[in-house]
């Protein structure tokens, strides 16, 4: 039982990160029907920016005295950086192809992914960038179950970001405009909504969320690497498909499910296969229910 609960918490931590990444896939797909294969790179870039910022603070000795401020700053800088990076990527690699076939944009996305990943390798090196390990060392102990402060921080922050995104998309005027743009771009223009701006905003939000997940990943696993966007990127994509691509609530749910399945699969079946479960789910969903759990029929949370 303790083991089960422990795993549940681990699954929540990992699943939350997948959910944060999956949102970028699903929102971009919702608005321009593109699978942004470069999305995993924003996750990796966020992880790097976090490592750089935290290393800087540690270097000047600010980290021990003000850990919360340092962490907040690293999140804000990484999220902002990746948001602008994504806006740039969209303008350079996708916007010129908007009127072309979907395949050309898809290939452009693949190219962008390779370009960004190699860019990180060239500028940051092929070795792991280490995250400071002294952050949030303590643990809460409840009998046999123990949860690290770090896990609590990650889960809380993830929850806050997910709630924030829901409010933005479903309660604000700009969120309405986003959903309207996803539904009918011509009509949106006729009510003064600029689809270019909404598309930029969508990329920015998606990349910002992925960047936050990148830092969480670095904090949780201790380091980041230039190619770390690849596997979690595909798992998050599987999560978005599982939830019903284009559906925001679906992406959140899908992320949690993939995270849980991975942790429980590794714990109860075999750790060797932990990366396989997400792909099995992806294939099964595509085969049996391509619209995903929230797709088409239960569809009021599509963008």
């Amino acid at each position: 039982m303790e083991y089960f609960i422990q795993q549940l918490i681990n699954g929540l931590t990992l699943g939350g990160m997948y959910a944060l990444i999956a949102l970028g896939y699903t929102m971009v797909y919702g608005v321009i029907q593109l699978i942004n294969f470069a999305h995993g790179e924003f996750f990796a870039a966020g992880g790097y920016i976090g490592a750089i910022v935290l290393a800087y603070f540690a270097g000047v000795g600010y980290m021990e005295s003000h850990p919360i401020i340092c962490l907040t700053a690293s999140f804000m800088i990484a999220m902002a950086y990746c948001a602008y990076l994504a806006i740039g990527v969209e303008k350079i690699a996708y916007k010129p192809l908007r009127k072309q076939s979907r395949l050309s944009a898809l290939l452009s996305a693949l190219g962008m992914s390779i370009f960004l990943s190699n860019g990180m390798m060239l500028t940051q090196g092929v070795y792991d960038a280490i995250y400071p390990s002294e952050l949030f060392q303590g643990r809460f102990d409840f009998g046999m179950i123990s949860v690290s402060y770090l896990q609590v921080t990650i889960v809380t922050l993830t929850a806050a970001l997910l709630v924030g995104l829901n409010i933005l998309v479903f309660k604000t005027k700009i969120g309405m405009a986003m959903r309207a743009t996803a539904q009918d771009k011509t009509m949106s223009a006729l009510v003064a909504i600029s689809s270019n701006r909404i598309i930029s905003l969508t990329f920015a939000i998606g990349a910002g969320l992925a960047a936050s997940a990148g830092i969480m990943y670095g904090l949780y696993y201790g380091s980041v690497k230039y190619d770390m966007g690849f596997v979690p990127g595909i798992k998050a994509f599987a999560a978005a498909v599982l939830g019903g691509i284009g559906n925001i609530t679906g992406a959140m749910l899908g992320g949690l499910i993939i995270g849980m399945v991975e942790i429980f699969g590794a714990g109860y079946i075999s750790g060797e296969y932990k990366d396989v479960f997400a792909f099995i789910i992806l294939i099964a969903v595509l085969y049996f229910k391509p619209t995903g759990i929230m797709g088409e029929n239960i569809d009021d949370t599509r963008v």
Partner: protein
């Protein structure tokens, strides 16, 4: 002499190799109701989409409120008071009725006035008030047309372009819609350019009319004169 508030000068436009408009010239004076009638595929919707910049004019000029708007981006035009209710209503299907209305006021920041205008829309179309939280896509055709007009009014238009508001609606609903159109014109002084296949209806509502055939204006006259024109009666009024 007053200037037209909307004027098309020798407009050519189309879809790639398909030339849908071949030199269309139209003038609409402030406060007027003008109708464009014509058969399927004549180019009526293309005309409205070209005015709104959704389809680029290949040749010719569109003038609105004293400036040439060919190069103005489509999403700018509603903020200048030029708004279209497109063919097929194009309600945002997965947004609620109220959200559709709020988006009509997307560019506006006057929160209180927006709330008042929404209430006004609900007074004008009580059914929309009853359905305010329902998704737009679940409304009936008539309700969607009402919502489309109400949403357009939220942009505070000076000129309202209406594309086939009667399409697919029961006669009693059509009458209701046309009463509202008349009210918008009389009470708010909104200029209206009305596209219709239902020529009888359109020419009764309008002061002047244009007849469009295969991308060209074939006739232009006062609405009454068109209604009494034997050729028009034969071709468009089913006699």
């Amino acid at each position: 002499m007053t200037q037209p508030i909307l004027e098309l000068k020798n407009i050519h436009s189309g879809y790639g190799s398909i030339k849908a408009l071949k030199g269309v010239s139209i003038r609409v004076m402030p406060g007027e109701v003008v109708a464009i009638i014509g058969a399927n595929g004549a180019g009526k919707s293309t005309t409205l989409m070209t005015i709104c910049g959704i389809i680029a004019a290949e040749q010719g000029e569109v003038w609105y409120d004293g400036r040439m708007i060919n190069k103005v981006s489509p999403e700018k035009l509603p903020t200048l008071g030029l708004c279209q209710v497109p063919e097929g209503r194009r309600i945002f299907p997965r947004l609620s009725v109220e959200e559709n209305l709020i988006l009509g006021a997307f560019y506006r920041n006057d929160t209180e006035a927006i709330a008042k205008d929404i209430q006004h829309a609900y007074e004008m179309f009580p059914i929309l008030g009853e359905r305010c939280n329902q998704e737009g896509g679940t409304l009936s055709g008539g309700e969607q047309q009402m919502l489309a007009i109400a949403r357009a009014l939220m942009t505070k238009p000076k000129v309202l372009l209406l594309d086939e508001p009667s399409l697919g609606l029961a006669p009693i609903i059509v009458q209701q819609i046309f009463d509202i159109i008349e009210r918008i014109n009389k009470e708010d002084g909104t200029t209206i350019l009305l596209v219709e296949q239902n020529a009888n209806l359109a020419l009764q509502a309008a002061a002047r009319g244009y007849v469009m055939e295969t991308g060209e204006i074939s006739l232009e006259d006062d609405a009454d004169a068109l209604l009494n024109n034997p050729k028009i009666r034969e071709a468009y009024l089913g006699e």
